[in-house]
């Protein structure tokens, strides 16, 4: 474990964080009535390494809606007067829609749009230049970006709070559950419980409820400190935050119980918990956007429960959405909860017997 664990951590880190953030999915809405010069803009985004144009949509509202739903990370809208203004007054705007709840991604897409605008301005300046027998009269063209950052500018504390909450909940509940169960196994008190009139289900539920309360206290603590001292913003319902946190805590309790069934002593339990803990930090999108992972490992984040918790919490806390908006994350967490609980309870009951 001492040799494998650090090596594994470094390998995971190297694979996940080795590259730059590229191939961010975006949509383009080209409303340019002439559809002539607007085409150059679409081509530039098609050629870009940073963005992947996954769809062409009709109209600004459709483009915006896809960003709002989180289906894509950004959208480019080419206004209906793009060619006209460019030809008439040598100036035009392109509209960039980004998701402000993902500040790093928003910044990258905006920067790329600005780079493309500057490049196009230069190209159009040459294109519109009038060549006479005496000289070339260049016309200065200016293409600007008008950025619509949905949910505004997210502060670092707002962007990282869901991750911190999730990690704290996972760490405390999983380690506490695993260690306490293993300790009871080690001390032999579990045998006492077996011989006592306490039913197995009561014992499991008792453990479960206790650590659930610990998890809730931890969430309260994180929220109080975050809101009170660092001005953490919660745009949505605080009750929804608790609900998704409870669901995530159930997943973590299941994991803790599962770890306890495979560990012989407390040290093993702690080490086994760390094995679950590391991918959560690296692959959940806590530090690094999951969109930035290399394509061959891009499926890993979806195996990590913390990914869904962070995503759901961001939906509530930074986007101000309700549970209906994050239903897919809730479903995924519920599935994880059912799986881990069934597996752990089965193994635990077998151990007790």
């Amino acid at each position: 474990m001492i040799i494998i664990q650090p090596a594994m951590m470094m390998i995971l880190f190297g694979i996940a964080f080795g590259g730059e953030i590229t191939h961010l999915p975006i949509v383009i809405s080209n409303a340019d009535s002439d559809n002539n010069l607007g085409w150059y803009v679409t081509q530039k985004f098609e050629e870009s390494e940073v963005t992947d144009v996954v769809e062409y949509v009709n109209g600004f509202e459709n483009a915006r809606s896809l960003v709002e739903k989180g289906r894509v990370k950004g959208a480019i809208h080419i206004p209906s007067t793009f060619s006209e203004t460019l030809q008439e007054s040598k100036a035009a705007n392109i509209i960039v829609i980004v998701d402000g709840s993902l500040p790093q991604i928003a910044q990258i897409i905006t920067a790329e749009a600005e780079r493309i605008s500057a490049e196009l301005s230069e190209e159009f300046s040459k294109k519109f230049a009038v060549t006479t027998s005496i000289a070339v009269t260049s016309e200065s063209v200016r293409i600007s970006t008008f950025k619509i950052q949905l949910y505004g500018t997210t502060k670092n504390i707002d962007a990282f709070a869901p991750g911190v909450m999730g990690l704290v909940v996972q760490m405390i509940t999983t380690i506490f559950t695993a260690v306490s169960l293993v300790r009871e196994k080690e001390s032999g008190s579990i045998e006492m419980i077996i011989v006592s009139p306490i039913h197995k289900a009561d014992f499991i539920v008792g453990k479960f409820v206790t650590y659930m309360l610990v998890a809730l206290a931890v969430i309260c603590n994180v929220l109080i400190v975050g809101i009170g001292f660092f001005g953490l913003s919660i745009r949505g319902s605080i009750l929804d935050v608790f609900l998704i946190s409870i669901l995530f805590a159930i997943v973590c309790l299941g994991l803790g119980m599962l770890v306890s069934t495979i560990s012989k002593n407390q040290l093993q339990a702690v080490q086994a918990t760390i094995i679950f803990f590391l991918p959560s930090i690296l692959f959940s999108g806590f530090f690094f956007p999951i969109e930035a992972f290399p394509r061959n490992i891009s499926w890993i984040p979806y195996l990590v429960p913390l990914t869904y918790y962070i995503n759901g919490c961001r939906g509530i806390m930074t986007k101000g959405k309700s549970l209906g908006y994050i239903y897919s994350d809730l479903l995924a967490l519920a599935l994880f909860a059912v799986l881990t609980l069934i597996l752990s309870i089965q193994r635990f009951v077998k151990k007790l017997e």
Binding site: S80, T81, S89, A91, N93, F146, Y151, R235
Partner: protein
């Protein structure tokens, strides 16, 4: 015959000398305006001008059509009300000597005030030189600019400390022309952040559309009435035009509900901690009891 001829010659000489003598006192008629300088070409950039546009470059070409050189020519563009020079000296130019048949270019910079009327203006180009002056008329068109008006705002009061407040601005196009690709920006300054931009597409004449913003109001923002600048940018006749509207909004003190929630959460946390502590001690007692029973069993 000869006598009469001599008399005639004398008269002619007399008239000649008298006219020479009088020439010093009588004004010499100057050449008519159309006789000397003519307007050859005039243009302005941008080609479409609306009220509120600044630094409009007016290029004029004039030609000295006379057979004489005009010395020390000075040109001045006389502006009607609603227009002003962009900077000191931007409507005056010294041309020096303009030779016969020579064409000279003039460049002036003017600002069109917001209050100016949309119509055709004739700007007067006044040319002045040592022995005369000319006035030429320069045609200049100011187009109708779309006029936006904020007719309603919801809510009109926001609370400091509130997050994700959805503010809707109902904007009327109060003109006879359409505005394309309308972009709205809420320029709130410090203390008010969030999603402060919106895109409304085309707003036809007399049509109302609403812009939506999601604002986060800081706790530190000054309470009371506040005027917010709303920048409108749109495309009109192939030109990007912008204007500033003013929105009055009232910022109130923070909502007590937030604090009630915080206090509630603290109470819940304390309750959980208390319950856990109680359970811990109960469990410890049970453990001790089990330990005692275990010892008893071992002894037996």
């Amino acid at each position: 015959m000869i006598k009469n001829r001599k008399k005639s010659i004398r008269y002619i000489f007399l008239i000649f000398f008298v006219s020479i003598l009088l020439s010093g006192y009588l004004p010499i008629p100057t050449e008519a305006a159309s006789d000397r300088f003519i307007l050859q070409e005039s243009s302005y950039s941008p080609s479409k001008v609306f009220p509120g546009d600044n630094e409009i470059a007016i290029s004029i070409k004039i030609k000295n059509t006379s057979s004489k050189t005009a010395t020390d020519v000075e040109a001045r563009l006389n502006l009607p009300s609603g227009m002003r020079s962009s900077y000191a000296g931007s409507i005056e130019q010294y041309l020096g000597d303009v030779e016969s048949k020579q064409t000279v270019s003039l460049l002036f910079y003017i600002d069109v005030l917001d209050t100016s009327e949309a119509k055709k203006y004739d700007l007067e180009l006044e040319l002045d030189w040592g022995t005369g002056e000319d006035t030429l008329e320069i045609p200049f068109y100011v187009g109708e600019k779309v006029a936006f008006v904020i007719i309603d705002t919801t809510p009109q009061k926001v609370q400091s400390g509130a997050k994700g407040v959805q503010v809707k601005l109902f904007i009327l196009n109060n003109s006879t022309i359409e505005a394309n690709d309308v972009m709205v920006e809420f320029i709130a300054g410090n203390g008010i952040t969030g999603q402060t931009q919106d895109f409304l597409g085309t707003i036809y004449a007399n049509e109302t559309k609403y812009a939506t913003f999601e604002l986060d109001i800081s706790n530190n923002v000054a309470k009371g009435p506040r005027t917010i600048n709303i920048r409108m940018t749109w495309v009109q006749s192939g030109k990007i035009v912008s204007d500033i509207l003013y929105l009055d909004i009232i910022i109130e003190g923070p909502s007590y509900i937030v604090w009630l929630i915080v206090i509630g959460v603290i109470f819940v946390a304390i309750f959980f901690i208390y319950t856990l502590r109680k359970r811990y001690f109960e469990k410890k007692e049970l453990g001790d009891e089990l330990e005692v029973r275990k010892e008893e069993m071992t002894n037996e």
